[in-house]
Symmetry: C2
Subunit: 430 residues, 2 copies
Amino acid sequence: MYLDIGNVLNTSPGITEQTLDRLDDRVAIAHDRIEEGREAEEHGYAALNLPQTVDTDEIRSALEPFGTPEAVLTVGIGGSALGAATISDALADQTDVEAHFLDNVDPEDTAALLDSLPLDETVLNVVSRSGTTAETLANFLVVREAMEDAGVDWTEQTFVTTGDEGNLRNLADKHDLPSLRVPDGVPGRFSALSTVGLACGALQGIDIEGVVEGARSEMDKLSGSLEDSPGYAYGAVAYALAERGALTNAMMPYAESLEYFAEWFAQLWAESLGKEGLGQTPARALGATDQHSQLQLYRAGPRDKLVTLVRPREREDIDIPETDLEGLSYLGGAGLGDLLDAEFEATEASLAAEDRPNIRIEVDAVDAHGIGELMYAMEAATVMYGELAGVSTFTQPAVEWGKKAARGLLGGGEFEEADAVADKREFTIE
Amino acid sequence: MYLDIGNVLNTSPGITEQTLDRLDDRVAIAHDRIEEGREAEEHGYAALNLPQTVDTDEIRSALEPFGTPEAVLTVGIGGSALGAATISDALADQTDVEAHFLDNVDPEDTAALLDSLPLDETVLNVVSRSGTTAETLANFLVVREAMEDAGVDWTEQTFVTTGDEGNLRNLADKHDLPSLRVPDGVPGRFSALSTVGLACGALQGIDIEGVVEGARSEMDKLSGSLEDSPGYAYGAVAYALAERGALTNAMMPYAESLEYFAEWFAQLWAESLGKEGLGQTPARALGATDQHSQLQLYRAGPRDKLVTLVRPREREDIDIPETDLEGLSYLGGAGLGDLLDAEFEATEASLAAEDRPNIRIEVDAVDAHGIGELMYAMEAATVMYGELAGVSTFTQPAVEWGKKAARGLLGGGEFEEADAVADKREFTIE
C-alpha cells in the first residue's frame, strides 16, 4: 500500500514537518504498547496478529461439505457482516457465487431477498459471537422458517460462526452443523481477517489466502516510525488533524468495488474512536460520483475535514469510442479508467489549491492482495489513533443502552432504559 | 410528513423555545423572499413550483413508444441520477422493471453492468442538461457501442432528457429520439420532481402522479411560520443547530427502501449549503444496521452532530417465529418491523439521554405519496437553510475547478488547473 501525505503539510487544518517529527516520537511509544498487546494476545491487539494466526485451511475444510453453492447468505450485523461484504464486493470478479447479507431487520427488504433467492441452492451462514444478537437471531428464525416452508432441509445448508458457548453453538451441536469459531480477543469490527470475514469468500471460491498475504505484508511493516508504516502513518496523521479541527474524515474510494470498504472503514473508525467526546466522523463517499454531490462542501464548506482518496494503480479499462459530438473529441482515445484517474487527481489538486487536507492511498490493484493490505493497514491505523488519543479502542459501551431499551420495549425484561423511551418530549409539526 | 423536534430542545448543542420564537421571525422573512422567487420563477426557487408545473402526462406520452421494457438504464451523474434512483428505490415494490444507473465512470463496474443487462430489452435514458457532462457522455458512448456490438438498434431504445440546445438535443433531432426537456430554473439537485427524476419511474410503471401529489401536499404547507411547515422547520432548526456547532447531520432512515433517499439528501444538502466556510456535512447512515457501526460515535463522540431519524409509520411486517432459543423468547410474537421500530425509538432515546440533538421524521408509509412528501420537504428545508445562512443555495462554483483540471489532464484544452495537478507535493510512505 502506498500512502501519500504530501497534501496535509501546511494545509488548513494541517500539520508541519516538525509536527510529523514530534508525532513520530509518540508513534514509537505507541508501537511498543501495541507490540506488548500483540505478544500477549490481549483483547483487541490480538486482531493485529490474525495474518499469522488465522487458518484458512481450517475454514476451507469446515465448509467442504457445501461444495460450490449458487449463493451464500450471511446473516449477521455490524462487524459480523461488513468484513465479509467488503472482501466479497472487492473480489466479485473472482466468482459466480452470489453473496447476500441480511444485516438489517427491515421486513420488506428481507421478504424481497427471500423471494429472489434460490433457497435450495443457498448456503446460510449465521454469525454472532454471543448467539444472542437480536437482529441476527430474528433474521435467522425467519430464514429458517422460509427454508422449511420451501421444503428445504436447512440443517444441510447452514453453518454457524460463533463463540464456544451460547445459542448458536448449541444449535450447531444439536443439528450437527458445520461451525467456525470466532477467535478470542478479536472484537467484531476487527474480525475481517478471521473466520468471520473469510468464510463467505471461501464458499465463493475467492482467493482468501491472497487476502491474508496482503494483510501480512502490511503487518510486516509495523514499526516504531510512521515513515516505515503506511497504516500507522495514516492513523497518526488523521489523529493530529482531528486534534486540529478535522472532525470529519471523508473516505472516498475511486472504485465501485471499494464501496463496501468505505462502509467497513466507517464502522471501524467510528466505533473504535468515538469515545469521551473524541473521535472523527467517517463520511462515506465515492469517486467520481460524489464530485457531483459532496465536493462543493469539501472544498468550500467548514474547514473540519480530512478527505481520504483511495484508488488502485491498475484496473481493466474500457475504451471510450471516438466521437464527433461537439467539444467531446478529447474523450475519444482515452479509457473510462483514464477519465476516472484524471478526476481523482483533479479532485485532489482542487482540494489542495484551497489548502484543504487530503491523503492519497493507493494499492497496485483491487485484488486479493490489495484488499488485504488496505484492510490491515486501516486496522493498524485505527489502533494507532486510539493509542494516541488514549481511548479504549476495543470497546463500544455507548451501544449497550439502546440494546437494553429495545429489548425492554419488546417485552424482553424490565429495563429502565425502556422507560426513558416513554418519557420522550414531543414537539410535532405536521 | 410529521416532524418532531422535541429532542433538539435544550440538548447540547441545542436550542431553546425562545430560540424557536426568534427563528420563526426570520422564517417569516425568508418565506417572503422564497415566495417572491417562486412567483417570478427565479432560478432555483422555480424548483419549489414543480408539483404544479410538472406535466406527468407529457412524460408518459413521450415514453409511450417504449411500452414496458425489461430494464431502464439511466446514464447521468449527480442530480441527473439521484432523484430518479431515490424514487425507483423507494417504490421498487410497484414494478418488475429493473432500474439501473450508470452514475460513475468505473470501467470494471460498467463492464459488469453491460454484461448483465438484456441490452435488447433495455431502454436507455441519457440525462445531461448541457449535453457535455464528461462522465455521462463517455458512458453514453460506451453503452451505445455495446448496443451496436450486440446488434441492437440503439436509436429505437434511447431517449434523452436535456436542455433546448447542445449535444444531446442535436442527437435527438438527428436520430428522431424521443426526448424530454429539463425545465428552466431547476438546478440538477432540485430536479427530482421534474422530467429528470420522474421519467425512469414512468417507464417502470411507478405511480409518479402519486409522488407529485405527495410533494404538492408539502408545498401547500409552506407558510411564514415554521410551526406550520415541516420542511421549513427542519431547515431552520438544522441551521440553528449548525450555528451552535452541529456541523454534521447524520441522515439515518430506518427503511432499506430509503437508502437512496439519504444519498439524494446528501447531495442536496452538501452542494446547496457548503459555501463560504458554512454548511453542514451530511453523513449517510441506515437504521438499524448502523447502530452497530455509527451509534457509539453519535452518542459518545464530539458534540458536533444532529442525527435525523426517518421512518414510515406503517410497513408490511414479517412475524418472527416463536423459538425456544435461550433468552430470545421475547422475539417470538413480534415482527421484524416491530423490532426495527423498537430499535428506532431506543436509538432516539439513547441519544436524548446524553443530550444529543436528534429529529424524528415520519411519513405514513414509504409509498408514492410518502416519498413525494419527504423529497419536497427536504428541498424546502434546504432552501430555507440557505436563506437563513445567506448563501447562494442554487450554485456550485467549487465544482468547476476540478472539471477544468480533469479536462486539461485528458488533453481537452489548456487549463492552468491541470498544471496545478502536476505540481502536487508528494510525501510517500510505502
